[in-house]
Symmetry: C2
Subunit: 355 residues, 2 copies
């Protein structure tokens, strides 16, 4: 059976003052007034039965997510004792799904990305699933780049298709500088690495066994604990020794016979406020407005007020202005990289106050 494995462990400080530990990025209502996690679930639902949806997250977030998406229940969650980056998260999901279905196929999805062309997305995933069903391949989704983005990883692929829309991967490239990114685009041999993967649980565990043996050993301990009734303390102990490592670095860059499903479906990792601005619908002044906001001579801006308190922006354009119960941010759109620094300063302010 095909399962969706939605990775939802992140907290994220790049969306201050909207994101907080109590409201991580995957719960933000940045688009269509729905939490990102709900959009992710809805997006994959045409291909995966409701009871085959799994969300991997940490204990603190289970309650937050069931509050945000009330139709989720306990059986939808795979709970990691601690967040340890993507490889342990995917390994744990694979071990748990193997218990249910030794032939489980996993569509692995980040909880906090956006896709605007959902039909195209479904087609790409469908191609990946068929490939995995036929050849037990490792498949990743690659996005046709429309600009020399330096914030994403890239995938180089072989020109010849192995199946319609599917190519063999040549190499994975880390986030490039601008010059390199431009070169990548010019060759037309590179795609953005979306972080969306399709494989069988058995195959990814065998890759982890080969390339991250210490993780595999820990997962075997977890598996034993699960088989003996899921003793939470034993699972926690097994997990404690696991080192954080990403699936890209730990497996994808090493594995053989990796394929990429070529997609062009309006994907963004929504990594900062500028992306949230860009991926939303704009009014005739180029503004994205939410809540009681007043813009006077203000264009191409993101204006967001969460509560009843009006937010007024006069005579400033190309800015992010966000007002929530947590605080208020005003920042030019081309400086959103500095929001992380703001979140750190806020953290310091709060600690100072506590002392």
């Amino acid at each position: 059976m095909v399962y969706a494995v939605i990775m939802a462990g992140g907290i994220g400080t790049r969306f201050w003052p909207m994101s907080t530990p109590e409201r991580p990025k995957q719960l933000l209502r940045l688009f269509r007034d729905k939490p990102m996690i709900e959009l992710t679930i809805n997006r994959i639902s045409p291909l995966v039965a409701w009871e085959k949806i799994r969300i991997v997250t940490i204990p603190e977030q289970v309650k937050l997510m069931t509050e945000a998406v009330p139709r989720l229940s306990g059986k939808h969650f795979i709970v990691e004792p601690f967040a340890r980056n993507t490889a342990p998260c995917i390994g744990l999901a694979a071990v748990e799904l193997m218990q249910e279905d030794p032939d489980a196929i996993m569509v692995v999805l980040p909880a906090d990305h956006l896709i605007t062309e959902e039909q195209e997305f479904i087609k790409s995933v469908q191609r990946g699933i068929s490939m995995v069903q036929e050849t037990d391949a490792i498949v990743t989704l690659g996005i046709k780049p429309n600009r020399p983005e330096t914030g994403y990883g890239y995938i180089q692929y072989e020109r010849d298709e192995v199946q319609p829309g599917l190519h063999r991967v040549v190499t994975f490239a880390e986030k490039p500088n601008l010059e390199t990114a431009r070169r990548f685009i010019a060759t037309q041999e590179f795609l953005w690495n979306s972080g969306i993967f399709i494989w069988s649980a058995r195959r990814i565990l065998s890759e982890i066994e080969e390339y991250i043996p210490e993780l595999y050993a820990a997962l075997e301990d977890v598996q034993t604990a699960l088989e003996q009734g899921g003793d939470i303390i034993r699972i926690k102990r097994a997990y404690q020794s696991i080192k954080p490592i990403s699936i890209d670095y730990g497996v994808m860059e090493n594995a053989r016979n990796v394929y990429v499903a070529h997609g062009d479906f309006g994907w963004s990792d929504v990594g900062n406020w500028e992306e949230a601005y860009r991926m939303n619908e704009h009014d005739s002044s180029g503004n994205v407005k939410y809540g009681p906001v007043i813009g006077i001579d203000t264009e191409n801006s993101f204006l967001y007020s969460e509560d009843d308190r009006p937010l007024a922006v006069v005579g400033l354009s190309n800015v992010i202005a966000v007002d929530t119960a947590e605080g208020t941010l005003i920042c030019p759109r081309d400086r959103v990289q500095e929001v992380r620094q703001v979140a750190e300063e806020v953290f310091k302010l709060k600690n100072k106050k506590k002392r």
Copy 2:
């Protein structure tokens, strides 16, 4: 005896989101974390006994002011049934003070102005009081202008002093355009009209009798009601017929033998956010900061957060950023004239919500 008559009836929308009907401008803590009204009381206290301080205001504001300045008690207030601009306010105060002391001298002060050089201010007021005591003159305080301000009225005066620092007034000029303001400054014969006056209660009432007879008639009705025990309904009825009119337009522009005490004491009417910025102390980056505010690469700005919620401004300079329970404003310093428009839009938003 010398009384201070502090006029405190205004509401003001130019300080949104700080000023509201529940928190009019005279209660704002724009300087030294004290309400403007308290700074005004403190400023005149060296010259006026505590029990001779009077605040003229409307019923709704008496409670707000005693909350803001708890040492005020009922006897400090002269309550106008309705605000009707400065002439009725001053006339009512004169009538009430005449009951207490037929020779009362009034120092009339707006509640919501700022003066930074209080020693100099006291000297000017002292000169005015002496002049009134000696000659029963009408005295106004004029400020030496340091720029061709178009937001203030001007007073033209005769070059020769009648006493040290005191000149006869030639004429009162309304707010000029920039060209006229420049000409005024060049002549060195013009002062800013501060709206601060000194006169005896008897004299100002006789001026009102001459130049605003219909107001004088209404004030006589009020006086009769006061003499008969202060029946509030009769006072209200007498006041209802009074038309709003300013003391400048109604009396000062007509009266003979008006003198101006020449002052240079860091005065501002604090008419908008730019004035609040300019009259405050600035840090080494030229910022005025209050509350949990974070400025990253932000200069020459007014950053104010009223509650615990941090306000972060990144990479914007010369802005007003104010965050209160009422709302949030971001506005370049040279566009603060548009804040009134913002307050009107907020009012519309609120009404829309109520329907």
